[in-house]
């Protein structure tokens, strides 16, 4: 048991009998009234995000999830398969439960698998991932605006806006949270 005042970003809690991760927490007190904590929770089962207001001092169940680093192997239909690099055990997760579907899955990156009471719930993406550009147009001549971008398709099928100087075959760094281009990778 923990108190809602102690809820923090990244904490795992059980709420309405379901495991959630706390995405955001804000202290809030209306006028000269009682104190509350406004939270944004993400269901580890459905991926659904809800807004929940907790009364300050209310008790919540903090839960302890198991995490394991996994390697992505392949996608088959609607399932993404991962392997435990230590035991070579394979598991799959429905693409629906993975942020960005398959767009951020690559064998060179490492993913954290989250499970609770033996049940695999979700896969956490790495914050940054390096992917190769497979398709993009050449830079438009005469367009010298420094913040101009164009669309590029990456090896995973993901489409993203990149600066004009990026060419096919380049490897680029992507921020998976912001879903945006960060830099050209060396």
């Amino acid at each position: 048991m923990s108190y809602t005042n102690n809820i923090n970003k990244g904490m795992y809690i059980k709420f309405n009998e379901e495991p959630y991760v706390v995405l955001d927490k804000e202290f809030y007190s209306p006028g000269k009234g009682a104190a509350f904590n406004r939270t944004k929770l993400k269901s580890l089962k459905s991926g659904k995000i809800i807004n929940q207001v907790f009364k300050s001092g209310e008790k919540v169940d903090e839960i302890f999830v198991d995490t394991k680093t996994m390697q992505f192997i392949y996608i088959d239909g609607n399932k993404a398969y991962f392997m435990d690099p230590q035991t070579y055990d394979q598991i799959y997760i429905s693409l629906e439960n993975i942020d960005g579907k398959g767009g951020y899955l690559h064998s060179s990156a490492r993913y954290v698998m989250i499970s609770y009471e033996g049940e695999v719930l979700s896969i956490q993406l790495p914050k940054k991932i390096i992917l190769q550009v497979t398709k993009t147009t050449g830079a438009t001549k005469g367009n010298t605006a420094t913040n101009a971008t164009k669309e590029a398709e990456l090896e995973t099928g993901l489409k993203i806006r990149v600066p004009l100087f990026i060419e096919e075959g380049d490897k680029i760094e992507i921020n998976t949270e912001a879903e945006s281009y960060v830099a050209k990778a060396e």
Binding site: N5, N16, F27, S29, P30, K32, A34, F36
Partner: protein, 358 residues
């Protein structure tokens, strides 16, 4: 000693590095200048409020900062840092100052700091004679429009009635949304005010809605909870919203509505999900005020709240007579956040509480 990493830099250090950041503080200055001009043009006096008070209106959840003052006869007296200037506004109304405004720092001891909550903040309060809470709504619209005009002029921009705040565009042209809370409760929460007058019944209804009720919550907490969870999110992000006709239980200083005695004549202004102002048609009946303060005092005791000295002088001021008046407090820090498109109250204060202990 070397400077710490960028994210641990104090505001003054950030300003030194990037003077462009001064602009948002200048905007706050302009808002304050505009408010002063607005009320002076209407013939309002400016009240200079003390920052200490020897007694305060009794309100059940109020947590004032406390300190003590040494008196000449070697007595020590507990005093409070004002959480609002209200006690002084009412006394000066009794004295006969008439319409006036005050711009002052106020402070409230809270259990946490948040993006919209700082232990001290700048409050603008004004008292409009022979007016009610609807007149305050008109005042707010006119005030914000003239603030926007003043700021645009100062920044050399074309005057417009549009704000960009985070991902929203806010339109402040007159005729803001007005939400009767007693009706919103029915519409969004399926709760009738008459059904929740009984405290236990209210708790049962909340429980059946799935709230984690332990039956120790008082009526006010149940109300704030359902308001924060089910109503506040319904307000338009495009338009400022006035919420009015609050349940009579939530504000001990407000006049009851004569047509619907279950509600009081209180109004709150919300912009971009933030509570910006809170005002009401003032209760002038000294006997009723005394009765409500006694009720709040008893509620504080029940909640285990430390006692606050009873403001008998305020009752005395009401007994001597104050004119019909509506008064409102507006948080200028939150307003400055909207004017400067910033996310945190610490972004519009040079020395925010958040960074004192970093």
């Amino acid at each position: 000693m070397s400077l710490k990493l960028n994210n641990l830099m104090k505001t003054w250090q950030k300003l030194k590095k990037d003077p462009k950041l001064f602009r948002r503080y200048f905007v706050k200055e302009y808002i304050i200048s505009a408010a002063r001009k607005f009320f002076e043009d209407r013939g309002y006096h400016e009240l200079e409020s003390p920052i200490f008070a020897f007694a305060l209106p009794q309100e059940r959840y109020l947590d004032p900062f406390r300190t003590s003052i040494q008196l000449p006869n070697s007595r020590k007296e507990e005093v409070y840092i004002i959480p609002t200037t209200e006690t002084y506004n009412k006394k000066i109304l009794a004295a006969g100052l008439g319409e006036h405004f005050v711009i002052s720092k106020v402070a409230r001891a809270m259990e946490d700091i948040g993006p919209d909550h700082s232990p001290e903040f700048t409050m603008l309060e004004w008292y409009h004679l022979n007016a009610n809470y609807f007149d305050l709504m008109d005042d707010c619209e006119n005030l914000l429009i003239s603030m926007k005009q003043f700021v645009d002029e100062k920044l050399g921009r074309e005057f417009s009635l549009e704000f960009t705040y985070q991902e929203h565009s806010i339109d402040i042209s007159p005729g803001w949304d007005r939400v009767d809370l007693s009706l919103a409760l029915e519409e969004h929460c399926d709760i009738k005010l008459s059904d929740i007058q009984d405290h236990k019944n209210f708790a049962e209804i909340m429980k059946s809605k799935g709230y984690n009720i332990n039956f120790k919550e008082d009526w006010q907490t149940l109300f704030e909870w359902v308001f924060a969870s089910e109503i506040e999110g319904q307000f338009s992000s495009r338009r400022p919203t006035f919420v009015y006709n609050y349940p009579k239980q939530v504000c001990p200083l407000t006049k009851l509505n004569t047509e619907n005695p279950l509600v009081c004549e209180k109004v709150e202004l919300y912009i971009a999900g933030k509570e910006i102002a809170n005002g009401y048609t003032e209760l002038r009946d000294w006997k009723e005020q005394k009765r409500r303060f006694k009720e709040e005092q008893a509620a504080r005791q029940k909640l285990g709240k430390r006692s606050i000295k009873f403001d008998y002088e305020l009752i005395e001021a009401l007994r001597s007579g104050i004119p019909p008046v509506a008064g409102i407090g507006m948080g200028l820090d939150r307003l400055a956040m909207i004017f400067t498109n910033t996310k945190n109250i610490s972004d519009v204060n040079y020395f925010p509480a958040q960074e004192w202990f970093e």
